[in-house]
Protein backbone atom coordinates (compact mmCIF):
# COMPACT_ATOMS: atom_id res chain seq x y z
CA UNK A 1 0.00 0.00 0.00
CA UNK A 2 1.28 3.42 -0.99
CA UNK A 3 0.91 5.04 2.42
CA UNK A 4 2.69 2.18 4.09
CA UNK A 5 5.54 2.31 1.59
CA UNK A 6 5.76 6.04 2.20
CA UNK A 7 5.70 5.47 5.95
CA UNK A 8 8.50 2.90 5.84
CA UNK A 9 10.49 5.02 3.44
CA UNK A 10 9.88 7.99 5.71
CA UNK A 11 10.91 6.01 8.77
CA UNK A 12 14.34 5.10 7.47
CA UNK A 13 15.32 8.66 6.60
CA UNK A 14 18.28 10.19 8.45
CA UNK A 15 15.93 12.78 9.92
CA UNK A 16 13.65 10.32 11.66
CA UNK A 17 16.47 8.03 12.72
CA UNK A 18 18.30 10.98 14.28
CA UNK A 19 15.21 11.68 16.35
CA UNK A 20 15.03 8.01 17.34
CA UNK A 21 18.71 8.07 18.26
CA UNK A 22 18.12 11.03 20.57
CA UNK A 23 15.07 9.36 22.07
CA UNK A 24 16.96 6.14 22.79
CA UNK A 25 20.01 7.95 24.15
CA UNK A 26 17.81 9.87 26.59
CA UNK A 27 15.82 6.82 27.66
CA UNK A 28 19.08 4.93 28.20
CA UNK A 29 20.18 7.88 30.38
CA UNK A 30 23.20 8.65 28.22
CA UNK A 31 24.81 11.99 29.05
CA UNK A 32 24.64 13.00 25.38
CA UNK A 33 23.39 16.59 25.24
CA UNK A 34 23.40 19.38 22.70
CA UNK A 35 24.28 22.71 24.32
CA UNK A 36 21.28 24.98 24.69
CA UNK A 37 22.98 27.74 22.70
CA UNK A 38 23.61 25.36 19.79
CA UNK A 39 20.03 24.09 19.86
CA UNK A 40 18.73 27.66 19.83
CA UNK A 41 21.16 28.50 17.04
CA UNK A 42 19.88 25.62 14.94
CA UNK A 43 16.25 26.58 15.45
CA UNK A 44 17.09 30.15 14.40
CA UNK A 45 18.74 28.73 11.28
CA UNK A 46 15.74 26.54 10.49
CA UNK A 47 13.23 29.35 10.99
CA UNK A 48 15.29 31.74 8.88
CA UNK A 49 15.79 29.22 6.09
CA UNK A 50 12.20 27.99 5.92
CA UNK A 51 10.84 31.53 6.07
CA UNK A 52 13.20 32.80 3.41
CA UNK A 53 12.49 29.89 1.07
CA UNK A 54 8.76 30.41 1.52
CA UNK A 55 9.04 34.08 0.71
CA UNK A 56 11.22 33.45 -2.32
CA UNK A 57 8.67 30.89 -3.45
CA UNK A 58 5.91 33.48 -3.30
CA UNK A 59 8.12 35.92 -5.20
CA UNK A 60 8.66 33.30 -7.87
CA UNK A 61 5.11 31.98 -8.32
CA UNK A 62 3.36 35.20 -7.46
CA UNK A 63 0.63 35.50 -4.83
CA UNK A 64 -2.23 33.37 -6.09
CA UNK A 65 -5.75 34.22 -4.99
CA UNK A 66 -5.94 31.56 -2.34
CA UNK A 67 -3.30 33.24 -0.16
CA UNK A 68 -5.73 35.39 1.80
CA UNK A 69 -8.23 32.55 2.13
CA UNK A 70 -5.55 30.22 3.52
CA UNK A 71 -4.30 32.79 6.03
CA UNK A 72 -7.85 33.23 7.27
CA UNK A 73 -8.41 29.50 7.42
CA UNK A 74 -5.25 29.19 9.50
CA UNK A 75 -6.37 31.81 12.01
CA UNK A 76 -9.81 30.24 12.33
CA UNK A 77 -8.36 26.73 12.73
CA UNK A 78 -6.03 27.94 15.47
CA UNK A 79 -8.95 29.57 17.29
CA UNK A 80 -11.30 26.61 16.83
CA UNK A 81 -9.14 23.52 17.43
CA UNK A 82 -8.60 24.21 21.15
CA UNK A 83 -12.34 23.90 21.77
CA UNK A 84 -12.40 20.43 20.21
CA UNK A 85 -9.23 19.50 22.08
CA UNK A 86 -10.68 20.81 25.34
CA UNK A 87 -13.88 18.81 24.94
CA UNK A 88 -11.92 15.65 24.14
CA UNK A 89 -9.62 16.15 27.13
CA UNK A 90 -12.51 16.55 29.56
CA UNK A 91 -13.89 13.25 28.29
CA UNK A 92 -10.73 11.24 27.80
CA UNK A 93 -8.55 12.46 30.70
CA UNK A 94 -8.86 13.29 34.39
CA UNK A 95 -7.22 16.71 33.84
CA UNK A 96 -8.92 19.72 35.45
CA UNK A 97 -10.05 22.79 33.51
CA UNK A 98 -6.73 24.60 33.72
CA UNK A 99 -4.58 21.69 32.57
CA UNK A 100 -7.08 20.79 29.87
CA UNK A 101 -7.14 24.37 28.58
CA UNK A 102 -3.34 24.57 28.62
CA UNK A 103 -3.04 21.36 26.60
CA UNK A 104 -5.77 22.53 24.24
CA UNK A 105 -3.79 25.70 23.50
CA UNK A 106 -0.83 23.59 22.38
CA UNK A 107 -2.93 21.62 19.88
CA UNK A 108 -4.54 24.71 18.39
CA UNK A 109 -1.10 26.17 17.81
CA UNK A 110 1.53 24.56 15.60
CA UNK A 111 4.96 22.89 15.71
CA UNK A 112 7.29 24.50 13.21
CA UNK A 113 9.68 21.53 13.19
CA UNK A 114 6.85 19.21 12.23
CA UNK A 115 6.05 21.68 9.46
CA UNK A 116 9.69 21.70 8.32
CA UNK A 117 9.89 17.91 8.37
CA UNK A 118 6.68 17.68 6.34
CA UNK A 119 8.04 20.17 3.81
CA UNK A 120 11.18 18.16 3.24
CA UNK A 121 9.19 14.93 2.92
CA UNK A 122 6.93 16.58 0.31
CA UNK A 123 9.89 18.01 -1.57
CA UNK A 124 11.33 14.50 -1.50
CA UNK A 125 8.20 13.48 -3.41
CA UNK A 126 8.69 16.24 -5.97
CA UNK A 127 5.73 18.26 -4.72
CA UNK A 128 6.32 21.90 -4.01
CA UNK A 129 3.73 23.40 -1.70
CA UNK A 130 2.62 27.02 -1.84
CA UNK A 131 5.44 29.13 -0.37
CA UNK A 132 3.02 31.16 1.71
CA UNK A 133 2.21 28.14 3.87
CA UNK A 134 5.06 29.50 6.01
CA UNK A 135 3.00 32.63 6.64
CA UNK A 136 0.03 30.43 7.50
CA UNK A 137 2.20 28.59 10.02
CA UNK A 138 3.14 31.92 11.58
CA UNK A 139 -0.45 33.17 11.98
CA UNK A 140 -1.51 29.85 13.54
CA UNK A 141 0.94 30.12 16.43
CA UNK A 142 -0.91 32.54 18.68
CA UNK A 143 -4.73 32.51 18.38
CA UNK A 144 -5.07 29.19 20.17
CA UNK A 145 -3.67 30.78 23.31
CA UNK A 146 -6.56 33.26 23.45
CA UNK A 147 -9.09 30.44 23.09
CA UNK A 148 -7.48 28.59 25.97
CA UNK A 149 -7.49 31.64 28.24
CA UNK A 150 -11.13 32.26 27.35
CA UNK A 151 -11.98 28.64 28.23
CA UNK A 152 -10.35 29.09 31.62
CA UNK A 153 -12.00 32.40 32.52
CA UNK A 154 -15.38 31.16 31.26
CA UNK A 155 -15.22 28.28 33.71
CA UNK A 156 -14.39 30.66 36.54
CA UNK A 157 -10.65 30.01 36.58
CA UNK A 158 -8.33 32.99 36.93
CA UNK A 159 -5.42 33.63 34.59
CA UNK A 160 -2.43 35.86 35.21
CA UNK A 161 -2.54 37.09 31.62
CA UNK A 162 -1.49 40.73 31.59
CA UNK A 163 -1.97 43.15 28.74
CA UNK A 164 1.74 42.77 28.08
CA UNK A 165 1.27 39.10 27.43
CA UNK A 166 -0.54 39.53 24.13
CA UNK A 167 2.17 41.81 22.74
CA UNK A 168 4.76 39.27 23.88
CA UNK A 169 2.96 36.41 22.15
CA UNK A 170 2.65 38.34 18.89
CA UNK A 171 6.28 39.44 19.05
CA UNK A 172 7.49 36.02 20.09
CA UNK A 173 10.97 35.54 18.67
CA UNK A 174 10.07 32.60 16.45
CA UNK A 175 7.07 34.37 14.92
CA UNK A 176 9.07 37.53 14.23
CA UNK A 177 11.94 35.58 12.67
CA UNK A 178 9.63 33.44 10.55
CA UNK A 179 7.61 36.38 9.25
CA UNK A 180 10.67 38.57 8.88
CA UNK A 181 12.67 36.08 6.84
CA UNK A 182 9.54 35.35 4.79
CA UNK A 183 9.33 39.04 3.87
CA UNK A 184 13.07 39.21 3.13
CA UNK A 185 12.68 36.21 0.85
CA UNK A 186 9.71 37.84 -0.88
CA UNK A 187 11.56 41.13 -1.38
CA UNK A 188 14.89 39.73 -2.55
CA UNK A 189 13.31 36.81 -4.40
CA UNK A 190 15.28 34.57 -6.78
CA UNK A 191 18.36 36.78 -6.67
CA UNK A 192 18.50 36.81 -2.89
CA UNK A 193 17.86 33.11 -2.72
CA UNK A 194 20.77 32.32 -5.05
CA UNK A 195 23.05 34.47 -2.91
CA UNK A 196 22.44 32.47 0.25
CA UNK A 197 21.24 29.13 -1.14
CA UNK A 198 24.51 27.38 -0.21
CA UNK A 199 23.70 28.32 3.37
CA UNK A 200 19.93 27.91 3.67
CA UNK A 201 19.27 25.10 1.18
CA UNK A 202 22.31 22.81 0.79
CA UNK A 203 22.95 21.99 4.46
CA UNK A 204 19.32 22.28 5.53
CA UNK A 205 18.56 18.54 5.77
CA UNK A 206 21.71 17.90 7.75
CA UNK A 207 21.03 20.62 10.30
CA UNK A 208 17.51 19.27 10.60
CA UNK A 209 19.02 15.88 11.55
CA UNK A 210 21.04 17.33 14.42
CA UNK A 211 18.07 19.41 15.52
CA UNK A 212 15.84 16.34 15.61
CA UNK A 213 18.56 14.50 17.50
CA UNK A 214 18.19 17.20 20.13
CA UNK A 215 14.39 17.02 20.00
CA UNK A 216 14.68 13.30 20.61
CA UNK A 217 16.92 13.89 23.62
CA UNK A 218 14.52 16.43 25.08
CA UNK A 219 11.45 14.30 24.36
CA UNK A 220 13.13 11.26 25.85
CA UNK A 221 14.19 13.06 29.02
CA UNK A 222 10.66 14.45 29.32
CA UNK A 223 9.14 11.00 28.97
CA UNK A 224 11.53 9.54 31.52
CA UNK A 225 10.88 12.20 34.12
CA UNK A 226 7.12 12.29 33.78
CA UNK A 227 6.31 8.66 33.24
CA UNK A 228 3.70 8.81 35.96
CA UNK A 229 1.80 11.89 34.88
CA UNK A 230 0.18 10.61 31.70
CA UNK A 231 -2.57 8.01 31.76
CA UNK A 232 -3.67 5.97 28.76
CA UNK A 233 -6.45 8.47 28.12
CA UNK A 234 -3.95 11.29 27.74
CA UNK A 235 -1.74 9.28 25.42
CA UNK A 236 -4.80 8.31 23.39
CA UNK A 237 -5.65 12.01 23.10
CA UNK A 238 -2.12 12.73 21.92
CA UNK A 239 -2.69 10.43 18.96
CA UNK A 240 -6.40 11.01 18.30
CA UNK A 241 -6.23 14.80 18.34
CA UNK A 242 -3.70 15.16 15.49
CA UNK A 243 -5.85 12.83 13.38
CA UNK A 244 -8.96 14.93 14.00
CA UNK A 245 -6.98 18.11 13.42
CA UNK A 246 -5.60 16.82 10.15
CA UNK A 247 -9.09 15.85 8.89
CA UNK A 248 -10.37 19.37 9.60
CA UNK A 249 -7.25 20.76 7.94
CA UNK A 250 -7.92 18.51 4.96
CA UNK A 251 -11.46 19.81 4.62
CA UNK A 252 -10.28 23.43 4.84
CA UNK A 253 -7.51 22.83 2.31
CA UNK A 254 -9.86 21.23 -0.19
CA UNK A 255 -12.43 23.99 0.26
CA UNK A 256 -9.80 26.62 -0.50
CA UNK A 257 -8.44 24.59 -3.37
CA UNK A 258 -4.81 24.32 -2.31
CA UNK A 259 -2.34 22.15 -4.19
CA UNK A 260 -1.77 18.60 -2.95
CA UNK A 261 1.33 19.74 -1.10
CA UNK A 262 -0.44 22.76 0.36
CA UNK A 263 -3.27 20.60 1.68
CA UNK A 264 -0.75 18.20 3.24
CA UNK A 265 0.95 21.11 5.02
CA UNK A 266 -2.33 22.58 6.28
CA UNK A 267 -3.19 19.13 7.62
CA UNK A 268 0.23 18.91 9.28
CA UNK A 269 -0.16 22.35 10.86
CA UNK A 270 -3.59 21.48 12.23
CA UNK A 271 -2.31 18.15 13.50
CA UNK A 272 0.83 19.46 15.16
CA UNK A 273 1.16 20.79 18.70
CA UNK A 274 3.32 23.71 19.82
CA UNK A 275 6.23 23.27 22.21
CA UNK A 276 7.88 26.70 22.12
CA UNK A 277 5.57 29.71 21.93
CA UNK A 278 2.64 28.20 23.82
CA UNK A 279 4.50 26.61 26.76
CA UNK A 280 6.21 29.92 27.50
CA UNK A 281 2.87 31.74 27.33
CA UNK A 282 1.27 29.13 29.60
CA UNK A 283 3.94 29.57 32.26
CA UNK A 284 3.04 33.24 32.34
CA UNK A 285 -0.73 33.08 31.94
CA UNK A 286 -1.65 29.73 33.50
CA UNK A 287 1.14 29.04 36.00
CA UNK A 288 -0.93 26.36 37.74
CA UNK A 289 -1.02 24.24 34.60
CA UNK A 290 1.68 21.56 34.81
CA UNK A 291 4.41 21.69 32.15
CA UNK A 292 5.08 17.99 32.66
CA UNK A 293 1.62 17.33 31.22
CA UNK A 294 1.51 19.60 28.18
CA UNK A 295 5.18 19.33 27.24
CA UNK A 296 5.18 15.56 27.46
CA UNK A 297 1.98 15.26 25.43
CA UNK A 298 3.17 17.66 22.77
CA UNK A 299 6.84 16.63 22.57
CA UNK A 300 6.70 13.05 23.75
CA UNK A 301 3.54 11.76 22.13
CA UNK A 302 2.16 13.93 19.33
CA UNK A 303 5.46 15.09 17.82
CA UNK A 304 6.86 11.57 17.34
CA UNK A 305 3.48 10.37 16.06
CA UNK A 306 3.32 13.11 13.43
CA UNK A 307 6.96 12.67 12.49
CA UNK A 308 6.71 8.95 11.92
CA UNK A 309 3.13 8.08 10.97
CA UNK A 310 1.27 11.35 10.63
CA UNK A 311 3.19 13.17 7.91
CA UNK A 312 3.23 10.34 5.33
CA UNK A 313 -0.42 9.64 6.14
CA UNK A 314 -1.43 13.28 5.63
CA UNK A 315 0.63 13.46 2.45
CA UNK A 316 -1.06 10.46 0.88
CA UNK A 317 -4.54 11.54 2.02
CA UNK A 318 -3.91 14.96 0.50
CA UNK A 319 -2.69 13.35 -2.72
CA UNK A 320 -5.76 11.10 -2.87
CA UNK A 321 -8.30 13.84 -2.24
CA UNK A 322 -6.72 16.46 -4.48
CA UNK A 323 -6.35 13.73 -7.05
CA UNK A 324 -2.79 15.11 -7.32
Amino acid sequence: MDTLALAINNLISPIILSFVLGLCAALARSDLTIPEAVAKGMSIYLLFAIGFKGGAGVAAHGVDGTLIATIFAGIILSFALPFIAFALLRVMTPFDTINSAAVAAHYGSISIVTFVAATSVLEGQGLDPEGYMVAVAAVMEAPAILSALWLVSRSGGTTTASSGLYREIMLNGSIVLLVGSFLIGMITGEKGLNQIAPFIIAPFQGVLCLFLLDMGLVAGRGLRETRGDLGLGAIGFGILMPLIGSIIGLAAGLLIGLSSGGVALLMTLSASASYIAVPAAMRVALPEARPSIYLTLSLGVTFPFNLTIGIPLYASLAATFTGG
Binding site: T33, R283, S292
Partner: protein
Protein backbone atom coordinates in the same frame (compact mmCIF):
# COMPACT_ATOMS: atom_id res chain seq x y z
CA UNK B 1 37.49 48.84 54.97
CA UNK B 2 34.24 50.57 55.76
CA UNK B 3 31.25 48.47 54.84
CA UNK B 4 27.50 49.02 55.16
CA UNK B 5 24.64 46.77 56.17
CA UNK B 6 22.58 45.39 53.31
CA UNK B 7 20.34 42.46 52.43
CA UNK B 8 21.10 40.02 49.65
CA UNK B 9 17.89 38.76 48.10
CA UNK B 10 18.14 35.80 45.75
CA UNK B 11 15.09 35.03 43.63
CA UNK B 12 15.08 31.85 41.53
CA UNK B 13 12.30 32.18 39.01
CA UNK B 14 11.13 30.86 35.65
CA UNK B 15 12.80 32.48 32.65
CA UNK B 16 9.50 33.58 31.06
CA UNK B 17 8.83 35.66 34.15
CA UNK B 18 12.23 37.32 34.33
CA UNK B 19 11.13 40.42 32.45
CA UNK B 20 8.04 40.79 34.63
CA UNK B 21 10.05 40.51 37.80
CA UNK B 22 12.72 42.99 36.79
CA UNK B 23 10.10 45.45 35.52
CA UNK B 24 8.32 45.21 38.86
CA UNK B 25 11.59 45.75 40.72
CA UNK B 26 12.39 48.82 38.64
CA UNK B 27 8.86 50.16 39.22
CA UNK B 28 9.46 49.72 42.96
CA UNK B 29 12.61 51.80 42.61
CA UNK B 30 14.88 48.77 42.98
CA UNK B 31 17.24 49.65 40.14
CA UNK B 32 20.09 47.40 41.16
CA UNK B 33 20.05 43.68 40.44
CA UNK B 34 22.00 40.98 38.66
CA UNK B 35 20.61 38.06 36.70
CA UNK B 36 22.52 34.78 36.70
CA UNK B 37 21.85 31.75 34.51
CA UNK B 38 20.67 28.51 36.04
CA UNK B 39 21.65 25.15 34.57
CA UNK B 40 19.03 23.06 36.26
CA UNK B 41 17.48 22.22 39.54
CA UNK B 42 14.94 20.29 41.46
CA UNK B 43 11.92 21.21 43.48
CA UNK B 44 8.38 20.21 44.20
CA UNK B 45 7.62 20.39 40.51
CA UNK B 46 10.30 17.87 39.73
CA UNK B 47 13.81 17.94 38.36
CA UNK B 48 14.83 19.71 35.18
CA UNK B 49 18.02 20.50 33.29
CA UNK B 50 18.61 23.29 30.83
CA UNK B 51 20.96 21.49 28.49
CA UNK B 52 19.24 20.54 25.28
CA UNK B 53 16.10 22.47 26.16
CA UNK B 54 14.33 23.28 22.91
CA UNK B 55 12.27 25.93 24.59
CA UNK B 56 13.12 27.93 27.66
CA UNK B 57 9.62 27.21 28.90
CA UNK B 58 11.00 25.33 31.84
CA UNK B 59 14.26 27.22 32.23
CA UNK B 60 14.98 29.38 35.24
CA UNK B 61 17.19 32.29 36.22
CA UNK B 62 18.53 33.60 39.52
CA UNK B 63 17.99 37.29 40.25
CA UNK B 64 20.33 38.62 42.93
CA UNK B 65 19.49 41.93 44.53
CA UNK B 66 21.57 43.81 47.10
CA UNK B 67 19.40 46.32 48.92
CA UNK B 68 19.31 48.57 51.98
CA UNK B 69 17.67 46.70 54.89
CA UNK B 70 14.92 49.33 55.26
CA UNK B 71 13.84 48.75 51.68
CA UNK B 72 13.70 44.98 52.01
CA UNK B 73 9.99 44.66 52.72
CA UNK B 74 8.94 46.76 49.76
CA UNK B 75 11.10 44.57 47.56
CA UNK B 76 9.76 41.32 48.99
CA UNK B 77 6.17 42.47 48.62
CA UNK B 78 6.59 43.32 44.97
CA UNK B 79 8.76 40.32 44.19
CA UNK B 80 6.32 38.02 45.90
CA UNK B 81 3.45 39.45 43.88
CA UNK B 82 5.21 38.11 40.79
CA UNK B 83 6.54 34.84 42.18
CA UNK B 84 3.47 33.98 44.22
CA UNK B 85 1.56 31.77 41.81
CA UNK B 86 4.70 30.57 40.06
CA UNK B 87 7.43 28.02 40.51
CA UNK B 88 10.48 29.42 42.29
CA UNK B 89 12.08 30.39 45.57
CA UNK B 90 13.09 33.56 47.39
CA UNK B 91 15.89 33.69 49.97
CA UNK B 92 17.39 36.56 51.93
CA UNK B 93 20.80 36.74 53.61
CA UNK B 94 22.46 39.48 55.65
CA UNK B 95 25.29 41.09 53.79
CA UNK B 96 27.63 44.04 53.83
CA UNK B 97 28.50 46.17 50.85
CA UNK B 98 31.16 48.64 49.88
CA UNK B 99 30.11 51.98 48.41
CA UNK B 100 26.72 52.24 50.16
CA UNK B 101 25.88 55.29 48.09
CA UNK B 102 25.10 52.88 45.29
CA UNK B 103 22.24 51.12 47.08
Amino acid sequence: METHQAKRVEIIIEAPLERRLTETLVKEGVTGFTVLPVLGGSGRSGQWSRDGQVSLASGMVAVVCLIRPDRLDALLESAFAVVERHIGVVSITDAEVLRAERF
